[in-house]
Point group: C2
Chain length 353, copies 2
């Protein structure tokens, strides 16, 4: 077990004193980096890249070689679990993820089961490999889609503007959706625990689509199952606490109830005012976020001003991990990403004296 050289990220998640505000960027290993595009081209396609342990390790490390980031995140897809359930994940060029066999009938749903974790071994192997490659530089974040977000794709068969198929089930056959969600929650728990056992030092649950629900439906169909996951997670490993970050895109209205989920930190999208968010959650959880990814399309001065605004909004003290409010855009400039990273480190020091 290598000593962790930079544990600022983990300390901030636990609201322990830090010297500066740590940061990472959602989708930091991605298409905005030419070196990522080269590796992906070599792999053939996105899924092959996820399944190739050596190449997945390579792209995970790439952004750390360029930027002074405080955490690495496993390179993988949020839909590996339903793929392992047999739904047949695939990507069409220029489009989002799709399933060959979505859940289209009550029979499909009856047959659904928690997959054998052995089918996801390529993910756990990547976790081990990345940990080794990191050599203790920064902590490694593991992740999963939330039970609800997985269900969105599993029922709809792919991405959707309005999730009509999913919502029709939610409002007409909630019993079927609850069955899917319970299986997903058990699968996500096993999946994250196995990532932790293989070396993930923090885990994030991506609830990308929870924000399309009503307040009441969010509690019943998304938050409840994330709580089920969190309550089943291994929270200590290698002698350290393994923090859990909950990120519901569009969940800014629901921070109070999310803060009671058992998570250590909440991810904020860019629509949230981080000062208000901190006042609302108090000392219950740390916060992660929340610059608009498109602020990187501004001038260097505008990027620094936006960083300063968010740091000032959170204010003094630990409990803030800087991030974008959503994944970095594929057309963002790596030079501007560097300005972001360096500005956060430089401008945050006065808040940690």
């Amino acid at each position: 077990m290598t000593t962790l050289k930079n544990d600022t990220f983990l300390r901030a998640l636990l609201k322990q004193p830090v010297e500066y505000t740590p940061l990472w960027m959602m989708r930091q290993a991605g298409r905005y980096l030419p070196e990522y595009k080269a590796t992906r081209a070599f792999a053939g396609n996105f899924l092959e890249l996820c399944r190739n342990v050596e190449l997945a390790t390579e792209v995970t490390i790439q952004p750390l070689d360029r930027f002074d980031l405080d955490a690495a995140i496993l390179f993988s897809d949020i839909l590996t679990i339903p793929d392992a359930m047999g739904l047949g994940l695939y990507f069409e060029t220029g489009e989002g993820p799709k399933f060959e066999r979505p859940l289209q009938s009550e029979g499909d749903i009856e047959l659904l089961a928690v997959p054998d974790m052995d089918k996801l071994r390529y993910v756990f192997d990547a976790v081990s490999s990345i940990r080794q490659a990191l050599g203790g530089r920064v902590p490694l974040i593991g992740f999963s889609g939330s039970p609800f977000t997985l269900a969105c794709y599993m029922v709809e068969g792919g991405g959707s503007k309005d999730w009509r198929t999913l919502k029709t089930m939610l409002y007409s056959r909630p019993d079927l959706l609850h069955r899917i969600l319970d299986i997903n929650a058990r699968a996500v728990t096993a999946y994250l625990n196995t990532q932790i056992e293989h070396g993930a030092q923090a885990v994030q649950i991506f609830d990308t689509w929870g924000g399309v629900l009503s307040h009441a439906a969010f509690q019943e169909f998304s938050l409840r199952y994330m709580q089920q996951v969190i309550s089943g997670l291994k929270r200590e490993h290698e002698g350290r606490r393994v923090p859990v970050i909950l990120f519901t895109k569009g969940g800014g209205q629901w921070l109070e109830i999310m803060a009671q989920s058992g998570a250590d930190a909440l991810g904020l999208d860019w629509t949230c005012d981080i000062a208000q968010a901190r006042a609302r959650v108090g000392s219950q959880v740390a916060l992660q976020g929340n610059m608009d990814p498109f602020a990187l399309f501004g001038t260097p001065e505008a990027i620094r001003a936006e960083v300063a605004r968010i740091l000032e909004g959170f204010g003094p003290g630990s409990g803030h991990v800087f991030n974008l409010g959503h994944g970095i855009n594929q057309f963002a400039s790596p030079e501007h990403a560097k300005i972001l990273v360096d500005s956060v480190h430089e401008l945050s020091r006065p808040y940690h004296i």
Copy 2:
């Protein structure tokens, strides 16, 4: 001037006593109605339907003949103003609105000007015609897109998943965006005032895309210009107050600042908890909303339960106009829409004793 037979909607917006909670449905004249589809087919296409005073009147009245709605809303498009500015609005089959000549250069933006309202005469003629056709059954709502929402399409050239072009301008050349927004605000003010002069008895500003902004950017680029519009509106006509409704989709986090805009009521999308929303805005404004449009895809019992939940959330007293949290979906069943309308009227009476 005909006497208004049912002014429940206007009274609720002004928080005056009512006998039941009034309702209308966003996009109530639309593709979910076979009679609408027939008229639209006759017109040839959507824009021809908007521009034909007789047919626009016909489709505006259609949902009132089917359902016991408490307001009519002008049938038109939110992008009539930029079309009148010369940007060339068009629709491709199955796609959203597009502009032939979006604002692509600084020169385009310099040439932009408030259009001659005479170019929008077909809209004002429709307002007059609908008022006459209504004969005082229910009030007529006029509307406009918000300055920011118009700018989204004007800069991007059409709809977008992430509004990258618009946001690049926002973060790199905010001065250019401010120029567009100021012109839009002046145009929207003149447009709504002319609708009011022609008989619109309430007006709604649709800020469909304000919710894609950060809290800070929302205030600077959307709310500020809606306030400019509201401060220039004619608030009395035909001896009655003309209420203004502000609807920012995805704006649930910002209700407190929106309540100070000068609007009489705020529209809520379905993600908001209406009980919390009422507590947050206090007595400053009425609220309109906010059932998930996809709740209409549930069983009749589920629809009634959702209506009951929202009515209970708002609680006793006036100041609530029931609505969907977004436009009714084209695949919704008219029979289920009728269940919604009748349930709201029936179940709301106990809250107004």
